[in-house]
């Protein structure tokens, strides 16, 4: 009996914890932006990953909510989850509810055929954003995505433009197999293969800042020479820079080592502005306006796959206005 009581109490505790935990992930489930959808409003259902996933996602979610607002004539319903099957269910729900447009950033690339077919049958137009899905092109209107490989190319082209006499690169990779890692690694690997750049070390830090610091520390301790750090996100670049600072190695504009990062966090862009880093590649979370324009017919899609234009920022040219416009987070 005593045991039973303890169990019940524990279960209650667990349940309450779990409930509160879930609250963050999907608290905004199907929150309606306007209460009385008139004939003029366009009903949009968005299936996305939760803002807690990353700074990128947070900006992405905010952007969606800002663009598809009641003021712009939209009735927005959202669902956030990291789980594909939950996303599928939510999409199904939006279809049953009868939205006009379904916007999807899928957790996984597979399993979406049936749901998208149903959407098509119901006359609902589907736009993919941020992430592609493995389905026939006919099942969606257009996909607005980042081209990670292009981000890599832009960055590597910028690096080649620095005209260094030699390129000894420490390459810190993100979690192996992720889109961002594959894309951002590709262009640099080509340079390594062609012999134009010299690979001092190529290691994955799985997006972990502390791990990035250890990798750079290990190179410094081995006494090997290097003059470029190419980190596949801002956090890892920061970790690398911490290792340089502790070892008394200068970096950034006029420094010995060129520091490159990705994602354009505000704090990272400020490092650029201060000249401590050299380059930051954008990975734009702002697809909402492009989709809105397509929906309203302001523009037409030239192809099914629309590449979101992404910039690369140079420490020498960056301005405070850039930070305010393109910086993520705070």
């Amino acid at each position: 009996m005593k045991r039973f009581k303890a169990l019940v109490l524990a279960a209650t505790l667990v349940a309450s914890m779990a409930l509160t935990a879930c609250g963050s992930g999907s608290g905004e489930t199907a929150s309606t932006a306007s209460s009385s959808p008139s004939s003029g409003t366009i009903k949009v259902g968005v299936v996305n990953n939760p803002p807690s996933e990353s700074g990128y996602r947070e900006a992405n979610v905010k952007d969606m909510e800002a663009v598809f607002s009641a003021a712009n004539g939209y009735d927005l319903k959202t669902f956030y989850s990291l789980k594909n099957d939950e996303q599928l269910q939510a999409a199904q729900g939006f279809i049953t509810e009868g939205v006009d447009y379904l916007l999807i950033s899928a957790a996984e690339t597979t399993g979406w055929d049936e749901v998208l077919r149903k959407a098509q049958e119901a006359g609902i137009k589907v736009y993919l954003f941020d992430r592609m899905i493995d389905v026939d092109e006919s099942l969606y209107e257009a996909a607005v995505v980042s081209d990670m490989a292009k981000e890599g190319e832009t960055a590597v082209n910028w690096l080649l433009g620095q005209d260094l006499s030699e390129y000894n690169v420490i390459h810190i990779q993100g979690a192996m197999g992720s889109d961002a890692q594959i894309g951002r690694t590709g262009a640099l690997d080509e340079q390594f293969a062609s012999g134009k750049m010299n690979k001092v070390v190529q290691q994955t830090a799985t997006w972990d800042e502390a791990e990035a610091k250890k990798i750079v520390e290990s190179v410094i301790n081995s006494g090997e020479d290097f003059n470029v750090i190419y980190a596949e996100n801002d956090g890892m670049a920061k970790g690398a820079v911490a290792a340089l600072d502790e070892a008394g190695i200068t970096h950034g504009v006029d420094g010995k080592v060129i520091v490159m990062g990705f994602d354009c966090n505000k704090w990272a862009l400020r490092e650029l502005l201060a000249g401590a880093w050299n380059y930051d590649g954008q990975c734009s979370p702002f697809q909402a306006q492009i989709i809105s324009d397509l929906i309203k017919g302001n523009t037409t899609a030239s192809s099914k796959k629309i590449i979101n234009q992404e910039k690369g920022f140079d420490a020498k040219t960056i301005t405070q206005a850039d930070i305010d416009t393109y910086g993520l987070g705070e």
Partner: protein, 359 residues
């Protein structure tokens, strides 16, 4: 002479044999691989301070969070016969609180840093109390009880600061995570030393060690001797909470940035390993904090060695697993019994030879 060797195998040093042998093997291996591996350099860092550098410094510096967590984990293991797997997530929460408080202050001064740290401590101790209550009062297995915080801890950390990766920069923060001007030793290393001394004092000025071991070895007998085992178990989790706050603060201060997803990621498994490599029984009972600290250094030394060999960091985990399997098997009771049997056989054989010689 004979007495001394015996002491090494059965007495005081016995428990530390495995981590010490592991460290010795790694040192020898590295010296063969690259004699300069252990060279220590003195240089100026970018703040103009004179600092020590080299792999050895990287090892003891990098293992700091692990060592501090391992100290607290040893206590929880000893008292409860199980481990807290939520330390990484809890450290992310503590680190987030630390940053949150700093960001809400108009400026970062010594006072605000202390305030932020104390807040992080209180929050981590509260979560420790939560875990401890589940374990000590509700008698839930520690791994199961802490699975809750392990699962939702990083989400909680996310709420504290919101999505992005907030940064704090100040000489005081870099003083905690990197170097204090004028002291060439990384501050985290000094914090580990301080924590070890604090534990030593705690054991000296309280009966924590005796009571914890009694509760861990024979809870029923401990209770009949008037020990409040619920309190002891709860206390072990609260002390671990303080360790978590310290580790989280160091982790945040190293880069002046909190990334709730990656701060001390997977550290719980390394911490449990450090405790195991340190020769402590994961089923509770007798313990040696020193063993766990050495265990942490063994793990870090292994990691740095593999990095220096340019083993891909995805493969590092596999190599680490192999070495750890070896260490744990060597430290297992079965192998220990075999070895001591072999030793005694050798000894008797030697004694017989001696007596034969005398005849």
């Amino acid at each position: 002479m004979k007495n001394q060797t015996k002491k090494v195998f059965s007495g005081g040093l016995g428990q530390l044999t495995i981590p010490l042998v592991a460290i010795a093997l790694l040192v020898i291996f590295n010296l063969f691989r690259d004699p300069s591996f252990f060279s220590i350099g003195i240089m100026h860092n970018n703040d103009g301070n004179i600092v020590l550098s080299g792999n050895l410094i990287s090892i003891i510096n990098g293992a700091s969070e692990l060592a501090i967590l391992a100290m607290g984990m040893t206590l929880v293991t000893a008292a409860c016969g199980g481990q807290d797997i939520s330390v990484g997530a809890a450290a992310a929460i503590a680190g987030s609180v630390f940053v949150k408080i700093l960001k809400s202050m108009p400026s970062i001064t010594g006072g605000t840093v202390v305030l932020a740290f104390i807040s992080a401590c209180i929050v981590a101790m509260l979560f420790g109390t939560f875990n401890g209550t589940l374990v000590a009062v509700f008698k839930i297995q520690p791994m199961i009880a802490t699975l809750i915080l392990y699962t939702c801890g990083r989400s909680i950390a996310y709420w504290i600061n919101g999505g992005a990766t907030p940064t704090v920069s100040s000489p005081i923060i870099s003083g905690i995570g990197s170097f204090i001007p004028g002291i060439p030793i990384p501050t985290p290393v000094l914090i580990v030393v301080l924590a070890a001394i604090l534990f030593r004092l705690l054991f000296h000025f309280t009966s924590l060690e005796l009571f914890t071991q009694s509760v861990g070895i024979n809870g029923s007998a401990a209770r009949l001797n008037g020990i409040n085992s619920t309190f002891i178990k709860l206390l072990s989790f609260i002390i671990l909470g303080i360790c978590v706050a310290i580790a989280g603060t160091i982790g945040v201060s190293r880069l002046g940035l909190i990334n709730h997803e990656t701060l001390l990621l997977d550290v719980e498994m390394d911490t449990i390993l450090a405790v195991a490599i340190g020769g402590n029984n994961l089923g509770g009972g007798k313990f040696k904090i020193g063993g766990s600290i050495l265990g942490a250094y063994v793990i870090q030394m292994l990691t740095i060695t593999l990095y220096a060999m340019k083993v891909s960091s995805t493969d590092v985990k596999a190599y680490k697993a192999i070495v750890i399997i070896l260490l744990v098997v060597i430290g297992s009771p079965v192998v220990k019994a075999r070895v001591s049997k072999l030793m005694s056989q050798l000894r008797t054989a030697k004694a017989e030879n001696l007596t034969k010689g005398a005849q």
